[in-house]
């Protein structure tokens, strides 16, 4: 009886020891060296796995950072400059900072200004609808309102406003990962530089039709009149294909263009009410006007 137990223990320990020795040598032979900095870099990333950096996930991005010679062209929009500085510290390279960005919807075609001309009853997806036809309003460039962008947003930063029929960006939650930019079949989202207090001035329109046609399809369409280009003291506005574009890098948020725009297609968000020009910049009203996304 005792010998059986003894033999069992001995044979099993022998087998274990042999396997351990074999495994040790095999592990030595086939060892894959992994840079420990990849793990460290991954730690520094937000682990959102959103793909905003252009890589398959945070780990993939960390590997790319370690492999690359410099951090140029590599940027995590979610973690922002903090995460990139941390990674640069780990890797001993220079951090390349970028201005934080935020997504804006370049369409202000609410139900009021852009009445529906047809009824769409197909599958509820912007991509499908836009492959079938121009859209259920007169404007073929505008928002279809079927919320593809809301579905792809991983940060809960986009919500449909049932009154306007348009999605709204929650600036506090938006990380500028760019998922909505690629999801929108009408290419209506744009990543713009975040300004102080999340103030924004941009052309909320993508209509490249000539003035008359654009105006007919939507009351707040950019008609390409060029008044904003003339009035801008910083040469931040350019006009192409009857559509104005404000360069966020040059724009000093002076608001001259918004007052000049005849169709109110240039919208301002986050400013105190226009009449109250004497108000101090750090007016508490800013947060209230910030919610007024429509401004029509």
């Amino acid at each position: 009886m005792n010998t059986t137990i003894l033999y069992t223990i001995l044979s099993l320990s022998g087998l274990g020891a042999t396997s351990a020795i074999v495994l040790y040598f095999v592990a030595q032979k086939f060892k894959v060296y992994e840079d420990p900095r990849i793990d460290q870099a991954e730690e520094a990333l937000p682990a959102a796995n959103c793909g905003g950096c252009g890589f398959a996930g945070c780990r993939n991005f960390a590997e790319a950072c370690v492999k690359a010679d410099s951090l140029e062209g590599l940027y995590c929009p979610v973690g922002g400059n903090d995460a990139m500085t941390a990674i640069a510290g780990i890797l001993g390279r220079d951090a390349i900072g970028m201005d934080p960005q935020v997504a804006v919807l370049r369409c202000n075609g609410t139900c009021e200004v852009r009445p529906k001309t047809t009824l769409y009853d197909g599958a509820s997806s912007c991509t499908i609808a836009s492959a079938l036809y121009g859209g259920d309003t007169g404007c073929q460039y505008g928002c279809l309102g079927l919320a593809d962008c809301v579905t792809v947003c991983k940060f809960d930063a986009l919500h449909m406003n049932p009154e306007t029929g348009l999605p709204e960006v929650d600036d506090a939650k938006c990380t500028a990962c760019g998922a909505c930019v690629t999801a929108c079949p009408k290419n209506l989202f744009e990543l713009r530089k975040r300004a102080k207090k999340d103030r924004k001035i941009y052309v909320a329109c993508r209509n490249t039709d000539k003035g008359g046609i654009a105006k007919k399809s939507c009351a707040v369409a950019c008609i390409g009149c060029g008044k904003c280009v003339k009035v801008c003291p910083f040469e931040a506005i350019t006009l192409e294909n009857s559509l104005a574009f404000i360069d966020a890098d040059k724009c000093k948020l002076c608001r001259k263009c918004t007052q000049e725009c005849p169709t109110q297609s240039i919208i301002e968000i986050g400013f105190p009410p226009a009449k109250d020009k004497t108000a101090t910049p750090d007016d508490t009203q800013t947060s209230a006007t910030q919610q007024e996304n429509t401004n029509s």
């Binding site: 001309t117 047809t118 009853d121 197909g122 599958a123 997806s125 991509t127 499908i128 492959a131 079938l132 036809y133 121009g134 859209g135 073929q140 039709d209």
Partner: protein, 443 residues
């Protein structure tokens, strides 16, 4: 037992309301819009300018590349402008606007009705004429015909198959053409035979058109190699691959062209256009369009020049009924609803179907009950329910592996689904995404 294709298929109500209506001519409109991209491939390049006077049949836009087609003016008048115009797709595209003045034709066009049977041209000359005349597949796909006729090296065409199936419910444009222009059609087929250098030509016609089968069979006796094949009624028999399978029993492999199995398919409308182009020197600028629907006062088959606004056809057919839900460009299975009736008739418009509000509405979407009806009706042997959910989830690799690109978008799955699920909508979405991936891989 009549022949038909082997896989899947559905039997929607035929509703061929305008089957016995003769071909009618339409009056001249005052302003017309000719889109430059009314064929598959690269849009044509306009060669006229604002203010130019044009005659009927004059070349106004040149083909821009091999897979592209010439466009000829269907009206005489002045070019008003070259600008963007709304087309049937619901987007604005480049188009030539013409203000119609009089009806002056090019002198080169033979306008007599006399039948011209003999054709002395060589195959190359025939191809040249077809290419110059801007002929595209008139069955709806609008694929430039000269591309199809240019058989790649190493391949030989064994059969010329003429598509007179018209399996789309409601539409009768091909049917009336076969009845009224049978002799010209056969000459057209004969010319195509010569151009392709094939001996055997088979006209496939579904059994719901016995008069056309009888008439063409009788007339075909005069020609060597042309015969008529009656087919069992089943949708989508008019699909190129389905027709080849039904008529000669061969299966076109996945991703391959019909020439792979030695077949070239042309629609009857295309064969007639070939007759006019080669024998009468008349380029393609008019076609037969059915205007139909249960609520339409006078369903009709019109001979329409391209560029004519759809509203004019509807007006002639008794006006737009009050309870209209949808105006569809094409048939009920594959046609697309129009966003506006002011869009022009193009080379690919085979019919205008007006649906009542009650008919047009989609039923509410219910969950999939895994009945597999969509699988059993799919003529390409795909699994639509699976492709739909993969399309929704964006599983593009699996979509490609499961042959989403083979889908011919016939709509049989959406038609049969008892839960009225938008199967085709999502399959189309998957197709476009996978198509993009495949194209980017080639670069």
């Amino acid at each position: 037992m009549l022949k038909t294709f082997s896989k899947g298929g559905v039997h929607p109500p035929e509703n061929k309301l305008s089957a016995n209506k003769p071909i009618q001519e339409l009056g001249l409109p005052t302003h017309v819009t000719i889109p430059l991209g009314m064929h598959l491939g690269v849009p044509a390049k306009a060669i006229v300018q604002k203010g130019d006077t044009v005659k009927v049949g004059q070349l106004i836009a040149e083909k821009n590349g091999f897979v592209s087609a010439n466009i000829h003016s269907p009206y005489s008048g002045k070019v008003a402008k070259i600008d963007k115009a709304l087309d049937a797709s619901g987007y604005t595209r480049d188009a030539i606007f013409i203000d119609v003045e009089g009806d002056e034709w090019m002198d080169t066009i033979d306008r007599s009705d006399a039948l011209k049977i003999t054709c002395e041209l060589s195959p190359e000359e025939i191809l040249q004429r077809i290419s110059e005349a801007g002929i595209v597949g008139l069955g709806g796909a609008t694929f430039p015909s000269h591309v199809k006729l240019a058989v790649p090296r190493g391949k030989t065409a064994e059969y010329l198959i003429i598509n007179g199936v018209e399996c789309e419910p409601y539409l009768t444009a091909d049917h009336v053409l076969m009845m009224e222009k049978a002799e010209e059609l056969l000459v057209g087929i004969h010319i195509l035979q010569k151009g392709l250098q094939v001996e055997k030509a088979i006209i496939g016609i579904e059994n719901n058109k016995p008069d056309a089968i009888a008439k063409l069979s009788e007339l075909a006796k005069k020609y060597t190699g042309i015969r008529v094949q009656a087919l069992k009624v089943q949708y989508p028999q008019g699909g190129e691959k389905q027709l080849i399978n039904a008529v000669i029993g061969r299966e076109v492999p996945s991703g391959a062209l019909p020439i792979e199995v030695g077949a070239v398919v042309f629609n009857v409308g295309t064969a007639y256009a070939v007759y006019e182009a080669v024998q009468k020197n008349k380029p393609l600028f008019e076609r037969i369009v059915t205007v139909t629907g249960k609520s339409v006062k006078e369903t009709a088959n019109f001979k329409v020049r391209i560029g004519t606004p759809v509203s004019q056809l509807i007006e002639k057919a008794g006006g737009l009924p009050d309870d209209t839900g949808k105006v569809i460009n094409g048939g009920p299975m594959m046609g697309k609803a129009l966003a506006s009736t002011e869009v022009p008739i193009v080379k690919g418009s085979s019919g205008i179907l007006i649906m009542k509000q009650t008919e047009a509405q989609r039923k509410p979407v219910e969950p999939c009950i895994r009945c597999a009806k969509c699988v059993s009706v799919c003529p390409m042997g795909l699994e639509p329910y699976l492709l739909m959910s993969m399309g929704q989830k964006g599983l593009h690799e699996r979509l490609e592996r499961d042959k989403v690109m083979d889908c011919i978008e016939c709509g049989s799955c959406s038609y049969i689904c008892p839960s009225s699920r938008p199967l085709l909508d999502y399959i189309r979405l998957g197709k476009s995404e996978v198509g993009k991936i495949i194209r980017s891989r080639k670069k």
